[in-house]
């Protein structure tokens, strides 16, 4: 046995320390090391994908989808695909739901996944006291029964988007026996799912390390290890990718995106995602005047804003539906027509000399160039006879005001809808009883109300399209653009962009 003197031991320690310090950083080489390091833009507050504010954060779904599986899967093009359910549907009169559960799946602790897990997850999500923010969807079915691998349940109230939500926010299957045994706190300490990756190490606000699930029903993923570094600061994320400390990053300024993707060894992709930018209008003066609303819509040169402020990344929109959404209707267009805007305003007695005046609220830094966009819009409005005063506020204030219907005449916001159903975009934004709507009038509510429970799918979508057209004709909201998500990555990798905006490790592979 070798013995060390105290001096030798201290020398060895000092040597190890200096080596550690001077070693600096070894730039990660994903393709060789089998480790994928993602400089992620948000922190992970909780591992439970079904409750709390993080459950409805679209970005965090990238992590949840790595550890857990959803009832129903969704491809990067938003198309639904089998998940833990292999088939699903309603009976003919839509009074029952049925689901076929995948067989041969195991939880990360090796225990068997069963239909009971699905039932327990659905029932738990439907309970008010669990705090599931989408409880209003899950509570529309109950009384589940298991027969073999088929589950049937009763429809309490027909909800056309019931199965769509199974691939969206809070639509995750959690382990019944394990969760019951360890409880909420135990689950937060050691979460398990059936997903492609298993939680290996976690340091709150710092990093999450995942290991590949060798028993994943979809096959072993491309990387043995995935590290999510939580780097909310934009400058630091740019530095992470530029210095080689991370393999992939996202949501960086478009200027940096354009610069970095040209660098040797780096590539970039900026694909339109399901997030849209918009200006809420409330039914208060002077927005009660249709001429003012339409003029405010027509005076905005959205293409110019996208080109000049967002460096060409994004698509101009005339409705709250993006092209990937089911009720998107390309024929509904509100043209950029400042002359027509002037005429409309003139009809109401306004002109550049005698402008209509109101305030517009906006966040600053919440979305790329949000404040700058509103500044540009105010400039465009001024030319036609609209004088808007900008009020900057925090996003928390926006939520508070919107819930109290006190947003004021106009307010910038963004909206995400990864299931592409009109209920989740036009519906929640425009239907009066929704706590998230700004415009609240009977004409819109009368059109939208019957559509929520419409059983004939073709009729339902046609109804939404008609309502969307009407809303555009009335100018009840000002749609602006569909955002593009910038992703920069090492050229040794291949990325499949996800329209939902969730940068899932399973969509990254070695080039």
């Amino acid at each position: 046995m070798t013995t060390l003197t105290r001096r030798e031991a201290l020398s060895l320690g000092a040597a190890a320390f200096m080596t550690g310090i001077l070693a600096g950083r070894t730039p990660v080489e994903a393709a060789e090391a089998g480790t994928l390091t993602i400089a992620f833009n948000v922190n992970l507050p909780s591992f439970d994908p079904t409750t709390g504010p993080s459950a409805v954060n679209p970005t965090i779904q990238a992590i949840y989808r790595s550890v857990f599986d959803q009832f129903i899967g969704q491809g990067p093009d938003l198309k639904f695909q089998p998940g833990l359910l292999t088939a699903w549907g309603w009976n003919d009169d839509k009074t029952k739901v049925w689901m076929d559960v995948r067989e041969g799946v195991t939880w990360h602790d090796g225990s068997k996944f069963t239909p009971d897990d699905v039932v327990w997850s659905l029932e738990r999500a439907a309970k008010q006291d669990t705090g599931n923010p989408i409880q209003f969807i899950w509570s529309t079915a109950n009384n589940y029964k298991v027969e073999g691998n088929r589950i049937t349940g009763d429809v309490v109230r027909f909800e056309p988007t019931f199965f769509k939500w199974m691939a969206f926010l809070t639509g995750y299957v959690l382990p019944k026996d394990y969760y019951t045994k360890v409880g909420t706190q135990g689950f937060e300490k050691k979460p398990i799912g059936t997903g492609p990756y298993m939680v290996d190490a976690y340091e709150g606000n710092s990093y999450l390390r995942l290991k590949a699930n060798p028993n994943y029903f979809g096959g072993k993923p491309a990387f043995d290890t995935v590290i999510f570094k939580f780097v909310p600061d934009t400058t630091s994320r740019v530095a992470e990718i530029e210095s080689g400390s991370s393999d992939v990053t996202l949501e960086i300024p478009y200027e940096d995106f354009d610069r970095l993707k040209k660098k040797s060894g780096l590539s970039g992709v900026a694909t339109p995602i399901s997030d849209i930018g918009m200006i809420f209008i409330s039914n208060v003066d002077p927005m009660l005047d249709k001429n003012v609303r339409l003029a405010a819509n027509m005076a905005i040169d959205k293409d110019a804003i996208i080109k000049r402020l967002l460096r060409g990344y994004g698509n101009a929109l005339s409705t709250l539906e993006a092209p990937e959404y089911e009720a998107y209707d390309a024929s509904v267009k509100t043209p950029y027509d400042p002359e027509q805007a002037k005429k409309l305003l003139a009809a109401s007695g306004y002109s550049p000399e005698k402008p209509v005046k109101f305030t517009i609220k906006t966040t600053r830094g919440f979305k790329p160039k949000d404040y700058e966009m509103i500044q540009a819009i105010v400039g465009m409005w001024r030319k036609v006879g609209i004088e808007a005063e900008i009020e900057v506020y925090e996003i928390a204030k926006h939520y508070e005001l919107r819930a109290a219907h006190q947003l004021g005449p106009a307010a910038f916001y963004n909206w995400g809808n990864a299931i592409g159903d009109p209920t989740t975009s036009t519906g929640f934004a425009m239907f009066g009883p929704s706590p998230h709507s700004a415009w609240k009038t009977k004409d819109v509510d009368d059109m939208l109300g019957p559509l929520w429970g419409e059983k004939d799918e073709a009729k339902r979508i046609a109804g939404w399209k008609a309502a969307i057209k009407y809303i555009a004709e009335q100018g009840y909201v000002i749609p602006l653009l569909q955002y593009a998500q910038p992703i920069v990555y090492k050229s040794s990798l291949k990325i499949t962009p996800n329209v939902s905006g969730a940068l899932q490790p399973t969509l990254v592979s070695k080039a």
Partner: protein, 335 residues
């Protein structure tokens, strides 16, 4: 007598902390941003919203809310974080050590660097080097910590990538810790490689926090040293043939250090405040980084807990400074 003095100060500290608690509690309920509004689901009815408000105790009057909260805090129950769904006290227990290690490392750097610059500056009095040192010191003084952080990211993170950019420890390291004091624990358990990795992760945030404080210490200490160097006892020692270096270190420093300690104490509390931005930039998992998320999410229980911790640190540091100054100058002990 000293015990009575300390007791008096502790009572005053408790009263101050209570004042902080009242102000924060009221302010948080007056400033914009309703946590419930952020939690409302698209399908929520007014009844659902009312139930949510009742669940978090936000439907009661302000005084009732405060009384309930205060009673709970006095029994060690700081409530449950709305966004993290965890006990606030345990969250603080996990994250505070990271911030304390960072802040103390920055303080050590600032004292050593600031002290060295002050001594060198004093020795260089009336030479061509004095204005150079003063100018550099002025520059370091003028640049705030978050600008240092961004500059360090660019220089030491990107241009000369010597140190890790984010986090507290390399995510690929499998290190088990029995305590949340990673730096201290890895040192005491002689895990030098891990200790080195943690140090490497601290280099940039420590520099960002420590450099402005070092400049302040340097300026104050140099002024105090310069003042001491013209005192009679120094001139007498000089006549006896004592070298300039020994004069500064052995004679002048003793008298100059008192006001510097007082100032350093005050500045240290600012440094703790500075961790909020610096931790965010370097994705360092301390209470500063957590505070930003808490504010964004309007996580009232967590913000209240964090502010109480910041307040307690402020009060305790000031108490410690008073005692230290008194130890250096007993005449002030009863003052």
């Amino acid at each position: 007598m000293i015990a009575v003095s300390i007791l008096n100060r502790l009572i005053m500290a408790a009263i101050t902390l209570f004042g902080v608690a009242v102000i924060v509690f009221v302010l948080l309920r007056v400033v914009p941003g309703d946590p419930i509004a952020m939690m409302i689901s698209p399908g929520a009815s007014p009844a659902d919203i009312a139930a949510l408000r009742a669940h978090y105790g936000l439907d009661a009057s302000l005084s009732t809310q405060f009384w309930l909260w205060l009673k709970a805090v006095l029994t060690g129950d700081f409530g449950t974080s709305i966004s993290l769904k965890r006990d606030v006290l345990s969250l603080l227990g996990e994250r505070l050590p990271a911030t304390l290690e960072l802040a103390f490392a920055a303080l050590v750097l600032a004292v050593l660097l600031g002290g060295a610059v002050a001594i060198v500056g004093t020795l260089a009095r009336r030479t061509v080097f004095e204005p150079v040192i003063d100018s550099f010191n002025g520059l370091f003084l003028a640049v705030p910590d978050f600008v240092w952080a961004l500059a360090l990211v660019l220089v030491l993170g990107v241009l000369f990538p010597l140190f890790p950019l984010s986090g507290r420890i390399d995510p690929s390291i499998d290190a088990q810790f029995a305590t949340p004091f990673y730096l201290l624990e890895s040192l005491l358990t002689l895990r030098f490689a891990i200790f080195a990795d943690i140090c490497a992760h601290m280099v940039m945030p420590v520099l960002a926090l420590g450099l402005p404080l070092a400049a302040i210490i340097a300026r104050v200490l140099k002024a105090a040293l310069s003042e001491a160097m013209v005192q009679d006892y120094i001139l007498l020692a000089k006549l006896k043939g004592m070298s300039e270096l020994r004069l500064v270190l052995q004679e002048a420093l003793r008298n100059a250090v008192g006001p510097t300690i007082a100032l350093t104490g005050v500045q240290f509390t600012f440094l703790i405040g500075g961790t909020v931005i610096v931790e965010r930039i370097f994705a360092y998992p301390g209470i500063g980084n957590m505070a930003i998320d808490a504010v964004i999410n309007r996580d009232l229980p967590l913000i209240q807990g964090l502010v109480l911790v910041f307040g307690a640190i402020f009060i305790l540091v000031n108490l410690a400074v008073d005692l230290l100054v008194a130890a250096f100058n007993p005449r002030l002990a009863h003052g």
